[in-house]
């Protein structure tokens, strides 16, 4: 998509202001909701924008789950092509676009594992039934949760990011963090609460528990 599409972008922003449309959740970034709607409506500008925002997420999930750069690139391509071709099946009132992309990604990853274990079974056709590798579902959702949280953590502004890193990785109490960063206690407490809520929303909304 090399050409600018100023008009479709304009059409996109008026779409989002329709007051009668229910939103999935009040705590979701309105930009994400808007982009989901224009994606579902087939706005040609929505695909490159969705790719710009979430290709790294899709790619990282694929990379961490398959451990193979070629597979990861391939899955990323498949996910966005499938999402665009299946845009009519995405309901922006039922979920977010990144959540849907993550769902497609996990399905593609599972397909890849399935294909691998089929190959393995073919190779070991005369082996025991136990040689079938289970599909690493639990592993997969742990990875997905970590990648999503790492991403959301990276998106936090400062000092929120620093505060949470000190709490998570240095195990400091809010009082220690306040004194280290010379911030009022109340500010640190409030940042911790808001940031934790953001992380939790990201996990719930982007569907790793699906």
């Amino acid at each position: 998509m090399t050409s600018p599409r100023a008009r479709t972008v304009l059409a996109l922003s008026s779409e989002g202001s329709r007051p009668d449309v229910p939103r999935p959740r009040a705590d979701i970034d309105p930009d994400v909701v808007l982009l989901g709607r224009s994606f579902a409506a087939g706005d040609p500008e929505a695909l490159p924008e969705a790719y710009r925002r979430w290709s790294a997420l899709v790619h990282t999930l694929a990379l961490r789950s398959t451990g193979n750069a070629e597979d990861a690139a391939d899955i990323t391509q498949q996910v966005f092509v499938a999402a665009w071709r299946g845009q009519a099946t995405f309901d922006p009132d039922l979920g977010t676009l990144p959540g849907w992309l993550v769902t497609i990604t996990r399905r593609r990853i599972a397909d890849r594992w399935e294909a691998r274990s089929r190959e393995l079974r073919a190779v070991e056709a005369v082996g025991t039934a136990d040689s079938r590798e289970p599909i690493a579902d639990g592993h997969d959702s742990d990875v997905a949760a970590r990648v999503l949280l790492a991403d959301e953590l990276a998106r936090l502004g400062e000092p929120q990011k620093r505060i949470l890193e000190l709490a998570f990785f240095q195990d400091l109490t809010h009082a220690q963090i306040a004194s280290l960063l010379s911030l009022p206690l109340g500010t640190v407490k409030s940042h911790i609460r808001r940031s934790l809520e953001r992380l939790r929303t990201r996990l719930e909304v982007d569907g790793v528990s699906a």
Partner: protein, 243 residues
């Protein structure tokens, strides 16, 4: 959805206290903390909140540098772009989904049908000439993302010069009009051929001195009736004439 208002909930723990408990901290000294623990024992809502945030914190604590996002190589977008933009019949076989094979069959059938009508079209429009028009080049017009239309383009040679015959199906009645363009391969230079007759057909003279090989891409766009002669960047179908 969980009861997670930002306003303090009467009779429940303060959300900030819940967050600190979830991180494994004691929220205050002495009585405060004992009070919070006692409340948790009797309040399912607050206990559920603490547990949910604890789970988030526990997962976050296992993050390693490996979990940082890695952007895909630039070739991935190029591959997506070409898979979605390319005329279906040029898709590499390995990348064809079931749907696109079906689609290319349908498109092929379409081209066959249109070839017939297009040829007739050419004959009718050149009845007064003695030389029968010959099809110099043809291509299918494939929908761009977001469009359901498709069609066919032929360049025919007539005694009065080359003509471009465009036939599209699946276009809605426009808010404005549909315009046909010739683009160079890079999409940087373009020539407006004219306006489609209604929503499906048009016959346009190839401008003299314009080589098809320099402008092989045929594009149909939706143009608002705003007097702006430039391309609206809202293309619906596109196809590339063979060199």
């Amino acid at each position: 959805m969980s009861p997670r208002d930002t306003a303090p909930r009467s009779g429940h723990l303060d959300p900030e206290v819940i967050a600190l408990l979830a991180l494994g901290e004691s929220p205050g000294t002495g009585d405060d903390f004992i009070g919070a623990q006692r409340h948790l024992q009797s309040c399912d809502d607050c206990r559920h909140e603490v547990e949910a945030f604890s789970a988030v914190a526990a997962t976050a604590r296992t993050i390693t540098p490996d979990d940082a996002l890695v952007a895909p190589p630039a070739s991935v977008w190029a591959a997506i772009d070409s898979e979605l933009q390319a005329p279906v019949h040029t898709l590499p076989v390995a990348q064809r989904s079931r749907r696109s094979s079906w689609f290319s069959l349908a498109a092929a059938a379409c081209v066959g049908l249109l070839l017939g009508s297009g040829a007739m079209y050419a004959v009718t429009s050149s009845q007064r000439t003695t030389v029968a028009p010959t099809i110099v080049a043809e291509a299918s017009l494939s929908p761009l993302p977001g469009s359901q239309a498709s069609g066919n383009v032929e360049v025919v040679s007539t005694s009065s010069g080359a003509q471009v015959l465009v036939d599209v199906s699946g276009l809605a009645k426009p808010d404005g009009f549909y315009e046909v363009w010739l683009l160079d391969r890079k999409g940087e230079k373009l020539i407006a051929l004219g306006v489609l007759d209604g929503t499906d057909k048009g016959t346009f003279a190839m401008p003299p001195g314009v080589a098809m090989s320099d402008y092989p891409v045929v594009d149909v766009s939706l143009e608002p009736s705003d007097g702006n002669p430039e391309h609206s960047h809202h293309s619906l179908v596109r196809g590339t004439l063979p060199a």
